[in-house]
């Protein structure tokens, strides 16, 4: 076992209200009985005196050694970590408990968010726990017993060499930087008369990277322009896909000779292929708005949920086939632009940035930031995938501008289907208006007008040559990429 990754908690034994109650009331009742000659008062007070005396005699004499920590520093959506409490109880310790406070988008096992164990005195034997510094916990002569490893089952675990483990599992159900609830632990002695309760332990913010949705694209990117990769370029070269059969020229490789055609025509002919090159993909995620309800990875998705998960899926797909992928989150604070790179480290970087996306609050600063982000140059030939709920006009205008310059651009519409109707239910409408009192027919009418405007803007964007597709997972980009590929091979007019 490895050392617990935290320092032991510190606190001291304190008498509880119950102990003070038993002591004070017991003595008072007995005193009243003696001085006022009321034997019934002595009868009532005697059990309380006995409880108080028992508690004093069984007072714990040593401090318990308690470690509390969160088992994982980073999660994926749907993954589970655990608050773990490891207790090396001293003499007199009888009950231990661990409770975790509520946190949004986190599911707990057990659902009560707390566990307790009551047979500590019987099950555990006095032991020593090594701290992170490797020194022994008590007298320096004991063995080292520490908990480690993933939580397999929440709740009280069997004592390991005198060490008692308690787990409360926390499942993060939505991407983002989650703040797992603080863990409160308590250790108590006989009759609950003494308690050892340190301050609640808070964990560092826990990044939860998005769970990429299932995505695949069978159509190659329209304009691969790299050195190596698996995308078919428009140039002839070494590759797998047949381009032409032509007459043999000096310098052609002999293994390229196409013998059937050569025999038929009487002169040597060779096959040529398109070279395989890598493409560059830039993902633009619109974080100016987050529309719809988000209930986690296995429930309803908001527009930003769909955008983030779709971006993760597209990035994962193209990075796996050897393309360069970059990312820009539009409108989000503290979200750096990731230049196009390839490899698994790039996927990790992209997922990390996506996990930290925070929706813009729509202020002037955010709009200014959005315009600055849109001014970033996009290398020619880069496939730009814009993931947007298409509510922000600036983003659609940027997509149209890129298309006019000759860039291959695809807009993926991430607005949830539930939001595309003019008759929004109140709970969805409540997220759109600044004040809850404004939820009503006028707000519904305003949203209907906004949808009409959105439809018109989408139509204009389509007319400027930008394909717009809804996110449907695998094959979302196939049809539009095929069309874009055809367009690229035909003559066209573009603005520089």
């Amino acid at each position: 076992m490895t050392t617990p990754p935290t320092t032991p908690l510190s606190a001291r034994w304190r008498p509880t209200a119950a102990h003070l109650r038993a002591s004070v009331l017991g003595v008072c009742f007995v005193a009243i009985g003696v001085f006022m000659r009321r034997p019934d008062a002595v009868v009532i007070g005697a059990p309380l005196v006995a409880v108080a005396a028992w508690s004093v005699l069984r007072r714990p004499t040593a401090l318990p050694r308690v470690h509390v920590w969160l088992r994982h520093p980073v999660l994926r959506e749907g993954q589970t970590t655990a608050w773990t409490m490891a207790v090396a109880p001293g003499a007199g310790v009888e009950d231990v408990g661990l409770a975790v406070s509520e946190a949004p988008f986190t599911r707990y096992t057990p659902p009560s968010q707390s566990v307790a164990r009551g047979d500590i005195g019987a099950a555990a034997t006095p032991t020593q726990v090594a701290g992170p510094d490797g020194r022994d916990g008590s007298d320096g002569s004991g063995t080292t017993d520490e908990p480690a490893g993933p939580a397999e089952q929440a709740g009280p675990a069997e004592p390991v060499g005198g060490l008692v483990l308690l787990d409360v599992e926390c499942q993060s159900i939505r991407w983002g930087v989650r703040s797992p609830g603080a863990a409160t632990c308590a250790v108590s002695a006989a009759f609950g008369a003494w308690t050892w309760a340190p301050e609640p332990v808070s964990a560092e913010p826990l990044p939860t990277v998005p769970l990429p949705e299932v995505f695949s694209a069978r159509t190659a990117t329209p304009d691969p322009d790299g050195l190596v990769g698996r995308s078919r370029s428009r140039r002839a070269g070494d590759g797998a896909e047949l381009a032409d059969v032509r007459a043999f020229r000096f310098g052609d490789r002999l293994r390229r000779i196409h013998w059937p055609v050569s025999v038929r025509t009487g002169e040597l002919n060779v096959t040529t292929t398109f070279s395989d090159e890598d493409a560059e993909v830039l993902l633009l995620v619109d974080a100016m708005h987050d529309l719809g309800t988000s209930t986690g990875y296995d429930g309803e998705s908001s527009s930003l949920d769909s955008g983030v998960r779709a971006a993760a899926a597209v990035a994962e797909h193209y990075l796996r086939v050897g393309d360069h992928v970059g990312l820009q989150v539009l409108g989000a604070q503290a979200s750096p632009r990731i230049p196009a790179e390839l490899g698994s480290n790039q996927l990790r970087r992209i997922l990390d940035v996506l996990a930290r996306v925070r929706v813009a609050d729509g202020g002037v600063v955010d709009k200014r930031r959005l315009r600055a982000q849109l001014r970033h140059p996009v290398p020619f030939g880069t496939l730009v995938v814009v993931l947007t709920p298409a509510v922000s006009v600036d983003v659609l205008a940027h997509a149209a501008q890129l298309a006019r310059r000759g860039q291959p651009v695809v807009v993926v519409d991430t607005l949830p289907v539930s939001m595309t109707t003019g008759e929004l239910p109140d709970d969805l409408l409540r997220d759109l208006v600044p004040d809850e009192d404004e939820v009503g027919d006028s707000a519904r009418l305003a949203w209907r007008i906004r949808l009409l405007e959105r439809q018109r803007e989408l139509q204009r964007t389509r007319l400027s040559g930008v394909p717009i597709v809804p996110w449907v997972g695998p094959g979302t980009l196939d049809a539009v990429l095929r069309d874009l590929g055809r367009q690229r091979r035909s003559p066209r007019v573009m603005t520089r």
Partner: protein, 182 residues
């Protein structure tokens, strides 16, 4: 104050037991004593409701003190077997209020109370009652035998109480182990 809906079943049972015991004492002090007061009993029942919601507060101490005070105020010093029986029941009920309140605050309210803890507390509660039986017996004998103004047997009972406490201490002290820090 804890929401009842967030409590585990065992915690709810504990609090129900606490409320039932306190209510029983309040009603007994009204119905079974010559000087019982309905208003006092109702006040105690209302206070019990608050205590059940938050057994870790000082209101629990106040409730127990008031329950005992109202009982002592409304009931005369026990002379018959019926009165003694009622007094013992009140003492047991107050012990139940105290132990249930203490156990309810020892562990997180949402966590089920472990069965081992329940068994241990029950065992010890019975042990406390058995330890008090000699004291109670002395009280009965003293009440019947003592002339007015003679408190000898009362002091003897107190000495017995101390003796019982010392006996408990000796019997419950864990055996010393070599090499332990406790």
């Amino acid at each position: 104050m804890t929401l009842l809906s967030s409590l585990s079943t065992s915690q709810r049972v504990l609090r129900a037991l606490m409320g039932a015991a306190a209510t029983a004492v309040a009603l007994a002090s009204w119905l079974a004593t010559p000087g019982g007061s309905l208003i006092a009993a109702l006040g105690l029942v209302v206070l019990t409701a608050f205590v059940v919601l938050d057994p870790g507060s000082r209101r629990t101490t106040l409730l127990m003190a008031l329950l005992a005070a109202v009982w002592l105020w409304s009931a005369p010093a026990p002379s018959s077997l019926r009165h003694w029986a009622l007094t013992f029941l009140v003492a047991l009920a107050l012990l139940v209020v105290h132990l249930a309140g203490a156990l309810a605050t020892v562990l997180p309210p949402a966590a089920p109370v472990p069965a081992a803890t329940l068994r241990r507390w029950l065992r010890r509660g019975v042990g406390v009652v058995l330890a008090c039986v000699p004291v109670w017996s002395v009280m009965i004998v003293a009440t019947r035998a003592a002339a007015p103004g003679d408190a000898f047997l009362m002091y003897a009972a107190l000495a017995g109480l101390v003796g019982v406490g010392a006996a408990l201490a000796l019997s419950t002290r864990p055996p010393k182990r070599a090499g332990t820090d406790g």
